[in-house]
């Protein structure tokens, strides 16, 4: 069983999705337990794989026993195992949260919703562990197609946002596919490691076709991760989707795409080529500075809670892309650490937004009016997430920013350091504004006739049910744990970074 753990990571949600699709139509009640059980089994498999990778090194799982590069393989190194664990854990927590919200928001389509949910997890986990460039394309599309549908299940505006996402997402995936085509022409291989070996063996790094492949793949992946200025699809999609959808898509889709970018940059093209031969680091770091500032400032302008969080994701994507392109090992450690930390802190705040929406039925910040006294535990969970996004120790967000800033200083990219600090400051303003509303109450309604409305709500708002509270508090606890055990996590990441050859190419 443990031998098969790499495949089981994604086979559990995959087979569960088939069972849910078939059985859930007749017995909708089985959908939720099956989803949670399969996600839990997936978490266990990921942890088993992580332990094995840390003991024995890289796992190469040959599907069907076909030898790579002809066969497709799952190739899991320390980075892949770590991200897979985080992804499956987020999937599990969001699934637990979904218990009440999915029936409430999607009506009689519960089994369809969970089928899509499990397929999304299959796609995302597959993206993390696959070692084949074309397989990666298929899995990107599996996760993208399911996320279009998960978003479109929301109310009216969600459909329009999902439509835009379909168009943008397809362009992104097509660019990626085209880039892989050019790589295949030049190397005759689709296996990521083999492509890299062929590139070196044939000495074709100077080829224009490789450059074109690099540009196409990078731009395609940037579209998928909503890197400014290719972010237009994201805010409305995540703001209007059903709350469970945004709780799982917000933390995972963009983060997994950043993992894919790191994987392609370091495993396929190699650090020597990306940072040594192409001298684009400066430009991309400036782009990420723009992403950070635009994301943060746009977030400041929002009154809709989930839309504000969606813009924060764009800023966070800027952090991570910038961190990778600093071409510095500490920056890369910070970036990877931030993938893990950001997955959980985004989950935390989106779960909070979902709970508020479920309890008050309102989307804007004034819904939080005086909630500290009414739902103290929920607010505690939120505070940890908010502190992590601001970067207050000992939460995970502080340590990832610490490494990112160190990387920025070490590589001399001061503009990046300043952008990070400004963004942290804006996050502080944003979240203390929320805390103020929740603690001291919103300003009296200015002639909206909101008064009696608010009071009628007051009476029935109480603490969130356990199925929502548990994932929120568990995420908050994980954020603290990730922060406190940062040394152990950095040790896992360093295993990958030391192989990336980054130190050697820098002056």
């Amino acid at each position: 069983m443990i031998e098969q753990a790499p495949a089981l990571i994604l086979l559990f949600p995959f087979f569960a999705s088939i069972i849910v699709a078939l059985a859930g139509i007749r017995v909708p009640g089985v959908s939720f337990p099956l989803t949670v059980i399969s996600m839990f089994a997936s978490v266990l498999s990921s942890v088993a794989v992580l332990v094995r990778v840390m003991n024995d090194g890289v796992i190469r799982y040959k599907l069907g026993g076909w030898e790579p590069p002809m066969g497709i393989e799952f190739r899991i190194d320390a980075l892949g195992a770590l991200v897979a664990t985080a992804v499956s854990a987020v999937g599990l927590l969001a699934a637990i949260y979904s218990k009440r919200q999915v029936p409430a928001e999607t009506g009689d389509r519960v089994s369809q919703y969970y089928t899509l949910y499990l397929l999304l997890m299959t796609g995302l986990l597959g993206m993390v562990i696959t070692g084949d460039a074309f397989n990666l394309f298929v899995l990107i599309e599996v996760s993208a197609l399911t996320s279009y549908a998960l978003i479109a299940m929301g109310p009216r505006r969600a459909s329009l946002a999902a439509y835009k996402y379909v168009i943008m997402g397809t362009i992104g995936a097509s660019f990626y596919l085209l880039g892989v085509g050019y790589l295949y022409i030049k190397t005759g291989s689709l296996n990521m490691v083999d492509i890299h070996e062929q590139l070196i063996a044939r000495g074709i790094f100077d080829s224009t076709a490789i450059l074109v492949a690099f540009i196409l793949i990078t731009v395609g992946v940037w579209i998928k991760m909503a890197f400014f200025p290719l972010h237009a699809w994201l805010p409305n999609s995540y703001a209007y989707a059903p709350t469970t959808s945004s709780a799982v898509l917000g933390p995972l889709v963009t983060k997994v795409m950043i993992y894919v970018m790191i994987r392609l940059t370091f495993t396929v093209f190699g650090a020597d080529y990306t940072f040594g031969q192409l001298e684009w680091s400066e430009v991309v770091v400036w782009m990420s500075v723009a992403a950070i500032l635009v994301g943060s400032i746009s977030a400041l302008a929002q009154t809709d809670l989930r839309k504000m969080l969606a813009y924060l994701i764009i800023a966070e994507v800027g952090y991570m892309v910038g961190g990778v392109w600093l071409a510095d090992d500490i920056g890369l450690i910070g970036s990877i650490y931030h993938i893990i930390a950001d997955a959980f802190m985004t989950l935390c705040v989106f779960l909070f937004a979902g709970i508020i929406f479920a309890k008050t039925g309102k989307r804007d910040l004034n819904a939080l009016d005086g909630l500290f006294t009414k739902m103290p535990l929920t607010m505690v969970g939120f505070l940890v997430g908010a502190f992590s996004l601001i970067g207050i120790p000992p939460t995970a967000g502080f340590f990832s920013k610490w490494y990112l800033i160190q990387g920025g200083i070490a590589s001399g990219n001061w503009e990046y350091v300043i952008a990070l600090l400004v963004s942290s400051l804006i996050n502080a303003v944003l979240f203390f504004r929320i805390i103020e509303i929740a603690y001291f109450g919103a300003k009296p309604a200015e002639g909206h006739g909101d008064h009696h409305h608010a009071e009628s709500h007051d009476s029935k708002i109480s603490e969130a049910p356990l199925s929502m509270l548990f994932p929120l508090l568990a995420t908050a606890a994980l954020l603290l744990a990730i922060g406190l055990y940062n040394k152990d996590i950095v040790a896992i990441i360093a295993e990958f970074v030391s192989l990336s050859n980054l130190g050697a190419i820098l002056p």
Binding site: F134, E141, L145
Partner: protein
């Protein structure tokens, strides 16, 4: 003259780029949501064309071994290498001739020990990849059309600007 040579030497790339740009134009410039999806489909098809065209070789045929090719190769190893050239002209040959059957009545499978020259066959891998990409493209189109249908149910129109107007006016 040199210009035409540059184009004709790599005309498959030119064609795929042109088709792709037609699709991209439709995705960006069209206002009707179904037309945008048609553009998206064209865009994806261009990439399929690109992939299939890179598997083409001069004078090569489709990568299928006929039964008698394998069969002939098995029994007459001396001229096995040329066997497939003859057989491509004569497809019916495979049905004639006596072949061994196993206990279920199916022809026995021989390991294809006939010598195969890769240059005689188009690259099959790109075709296989594109089968998957076609499925992905169809699925994307299906999801796109389903969402368009939902938009039509909710807003009563599939013109993008009209939907934006409806949202702005708060309906």
């Amino acid at each position: 003259m040199e210009f035409f040579e540059v184009i004709s030497a790599k005309f498959n790339y030119w064609i795929y780029v042109i088709i792709m740009m037609i699709g991209l134009y439709a995705m960006i410039a069209k206002n009707n949501m179904v037309k945008k999806l048609i553009g998206m489909s064209i865009f994806q098809t261009a990439i399929i064309l690109f992939y299939v065209s890179i598997g083409v070789k001069d004078g090569a045929t489709i990568p299928i071994l006929y039964h008698d090719q394998v069969h002939a190769g098995h029994h007459h190893d001396d001229h096995g290498e040329t066997a497939h050239h003859e057989s491509t002209d004569d497809h019916h040959a495979s049905t004639s001739g006596d072949h061994e059957t196993d206990k279920y009545g199916y022809p026995t499978r021989h390991a294809p020990d006939v010598v195969i020259d890769g240059n005689d066959f188009a690259n099959p891998l790109v075709h296989v990849l594109m089968l998957t990409a076609i499925v992905v493209g169809v699925a994307t189109l299906g999801v796109g059309l389903a969402i368009t249908q939902k938009l039509h149910r909710e807003f009563g129109t599939i013109e993008e600007n009209e939907i934006h107007d409806l949202i702005k006016s708060g309906k």
